[in-house]
């Protein structure tokens, strides 16, 4: 084209794109440089300590729930670890429970039973439209109010106790020789997996179906049982007992944990229920008709035909709800559950005053959790999408 030649080189589309991008990049870098510079200057002017050396300093405070060994003499680095584990614990338990409730309510919404469908609908519309923080407070104070004091605890067989300080369970304590039991269990699981692979190959080759379930159960239960008997039952349980003001010994589930899990899982379930409903409604009508023509009951139809197909549509929103639950667990800070935000971005930040470092670490932790989960789910999604015929 003759016109193209008349445009000077710096005004061609390509050059303009390059220049624009260079300018943009430069702008962003300048902005970041300016922020870093300002922060450094403010820190220096006000003589605020900086750097990551504080992670090796003694924290000096106690944490009410720690999954790894922790006491007042531990370091801030240890606090970070305790916080991350507590966050992961609440997220994991929350995800398991919310999935169960979410699927139940989601399927319930499509129930032929008018009352069930209506109630599930009310559940979704109520919980989805009230702030989670409010629900957490509600659960917390409702739990505290409903439970008795330690001296009036509700007990079960004198081994399990429930009061407003928590749920006390017998705590397992490994004795010498417990390693053998664990090893036997691991070996059993490995053998079951190999068996399952073999059984599948046999089935695909010959059409013969092996009783895999029963065999796997035997493989998983028997070896540890035998190992345990040989080693003299090396797992003892410490039974909680009232000593002084409170129960001592055993395993305790804090009321803060119960309230947080209850609030997170019921709230998130209202979103999962909607995703499940949309997924099921998205399955082609012909599929259900074909299934009922085959004489499957409604339950069988859901389990064998509809839900497996709906899963493809359900998994992406499900993933993002799992991530939301994990991120929302940061609201623990409001009811004193010692999660990452509470003990690290909370107490530690306050004792050390190093806001930039601590918030950056906290954000990095959540970002890592989010990005790895999304990466895994994308991979998984791609995998199940490929099996489509």
């Amino acid at each position: 084209m003759p016109r193209a030649n008349s445009i000077p080189w710096w005004r061609t589309r390509r050059m303009r794109d390059v220049l624009f991008q260079v300018a943009l990049l430069l702008g962003v870098m300048l902005l970041i440089a300016a922020m870093v510079n300002n922060a450094a200057e403010t820190l220096q002017r006000q003589k605020i300590a900086s750097g990551f050396a504080f992670l090796d300093h003694t924290a000096g405070f106690d944490i009410v729930q720690a999954l790894v060994a922790y006491n007042e003499a531990s370091t801030y680095g240890r606090v970070l670890l305790v916080g991350i584990l507590n966050t992961l614990l609440v997220a994991f338990i929350g995800i398991v429970i919310t999935t169960i409730i979410g699927f139940a309510i989601g399927i319930g919404q499509l129930s032929k039973n008018w009352l069930i469908a209506r109630l599930c609908r009310v559940y979704v519309e109520t919980l989805r439209n009230i702030p989670l923080l409010l629900q957490i407070f509600f659960w917390y104070f409702a739990v505290l109010r409903a439970l008795p004091g330690p001296r009036e605890s509700w007990g079960l067989f004198d081994t399990v106790f429930l009061n407003n300080r928590g749920l006390y369970l017998p705590g397992p304590e490994a004795q010498a020789g417990f390693g053998f039991v664990v090893a036997a269990f691991a070996a059993g699981v490995m053998a079951s997996i190999l068996l399952a692979i073999r059984a599948r190959a046999v089935r695909e080759a010959t059409g013969r179906v092996m009783p895999v379930d029963a065999m796997a159960a035997a493989l998983i239960i028997l070896p540890p049982a035998v190992a345990s008997a040989v080693a003299g039952f090396p797992l003892h349980f410490s039974i909680p007992a009232l000593s002084g003001l409170n129960f001592d010994g055993g395993l305790v589930v804090l009321p803060e944990f119960m309230a947080l899990v209850a609030a997170l899982s019921t709230y998130t379930a209202s979103y999962i229920a909607e995703a499940v409903r949309a997924g099921i409604e998205g399955v082609a009508k012909g599929q259900t008709e074909a299934a009922s023509a085959l004489g499957l009951t409604r339950g069988q139809m859901l389990r064998l035909v509809v839900v497996p197909q709906a899963m493809r549509q359900i998994i992406p929103p499900l993933t993002s709800q799992y991530l939301n639950l994990t991120k929302n667990s940061s609201l623990a800070v409001a009811i004193a559950y010692p999660d990452l935000v509470s003990v690290f971005a909370g107490t530690s930040l306050n004792q050390t005053g190093q806001a930039i470092e601590i918030i950056a670490i906290t954000m990095a932790v959540y970002l890592t959790i989010s990005l790895t989960t999304s990466a895994f789910m994308n991979w998984y999604n791609a995998r199940i999408a490929l099996t489509e015929r």
Binding site: M29, A49, E72, Y140, L245, A336, G346
Partner: protein
């Protein structure tokens, strides 16, 4: 790349300019704004709390009003920012307010590492325990195995750990973000004891459903010198705040109060005359007027008046002067002279 470097250098140069200033930059800013910005507690009866009409009152609040009176001759030219225990230092560092006056304990790590400057002690306090009467506990030593509620990010959390460890007692700490949440959880029976500064216990007890059902244990397990703090890097401003506190104490020591301050101007006592600016001009080097103490005492009163009005006999808290009496009366409050 060279462009980037030169642009970055240019920016560094620009950013460096406003860092220099001759007089107290904080005072300049306060004067320009026309009001003092003060970080206070989120609602602690007697120390800092808004009343029904939203007007802030309390010991810590009146200290801010004293400074505003010295600068503007108007105790109302203060803006109060309620801050939680957790965020108070970062908020001060971030420049959200000019002065933190919020029952804050003076400790070495806070003074040295946080970039803060503590300017004195406005209230000598110590950490105690509040327990329900029905627990039948009369000493903190009987709290073995207790669940203890407290605020996160305070010295109380650390003292608690020290005390229970030193006495070989077991405990569990439930640390909340806000005062209101601690007291609500304690009232709901979550904890066997609530620990914070004794002054705070008296104040928070008023918020319980039945305050009479709870007692404060006799043990005081720590030293908690509570005082105002400012940012480091502006020594003139720290001087102004520090000498406002000393002025309040000196006024009480010399018997100058809000009712007699005008007559006291004629006092023959040279100390009183220097304090009130009749002789000498001690306010001026700080960027204030000669009669700065007259302004303070006339608008807000002396230390004794502030104490009695907010936490002492004139208040529901009815706290005795105790350690907070003047040194002449056997207390710890002692101010350097104006000379």
């Amino acid at each position: 790349m060279r462009l980037l470097v030169s642009a970055a250098l240019l920016f560094l140069g620009l950013a460096a300019v406003p860092a220099m200033a001759a007089n107290s930059p904080t005072l300049e800013k306060v004067k320009k704004n026309g009001y003092l910005r003060c970080g206070v507690s989120e609602g602690l009866p007697g120390f800092g709390q808004p009343d029904n009409k939203g007007v802030w009152t309390g010991l810590d609040v009146d200290f801010c009003r004293a400074i505003a009176s010295a600068i503007f001759n108007d105790p109302m030219k203060v803006r109060f920012t309620p801050t939680s225990a957790k965020v108070r230092f970062t908020a001060l560092q971030a420049g959200e307010f000019d002065l933190l006056s919020r029952n804050t304990t003076w400790t070495i790590s806070r003074d040295v590492q946080l970039g803060l400057e503590f300017i004195g002690v406005i209230y000598y306090d110590g950490q105690g325990f509040l327990v329900p009467k029905k627990l039948n506990v009369t000493s903190a030593k009987q709290l073995n195995g207790a669940n203890v509620c407290t605020n996160t990010g305070t010295t109380t959390e650390l003292n608690l750990a020290d005390y229970f460890r030193a006495n070989n007692l077991k405990y569990k700490v439930i640390a909340f973000e806000k005062n209101n949440e601690v007291i609500a959880a304690y009232d709901a029976g979550r904890c066997d004891a609530y620990t914070t500064d004794a002054s705070g216990l008296y104040a928070e007890r008023l918020k319980l459903r039945v305050p009479g059902d709870h007692i404060i244990l006799p043990e005081i397990i720590s030293k908690e010198p509570l005082g105002p703090a400012v940012n480091q890097g502006d020594p003139q401003w720290a001087d102004l705040v520090r000498w406002t506190l000393f002025a309040l104490l000196n006024a009480e020591e010399l018997g100058v109060n809000s009712k007699n301050v005008d007559q006291m101007l004629k006092s023959p006592n040279p100390e009183t005359r220097r304090l009130l600016g009749v002789e000498g001009a001690f306010g001026e080097p700080m960027g204030l007027t000669k009669d700065w103490v007259v302004r303070i005492v006339k608008r807000v009163g002396n230390y004794g008046e502030i104490f009695e009005r907010n936490v002492g006999q004139g208040s529901p808290l009815k706290i005795k002067r105790g350690q907070n009496a003047l040194w002449k009366n056997g207390g710890l409050q002692y101010a350097p002279p104006v000379r």
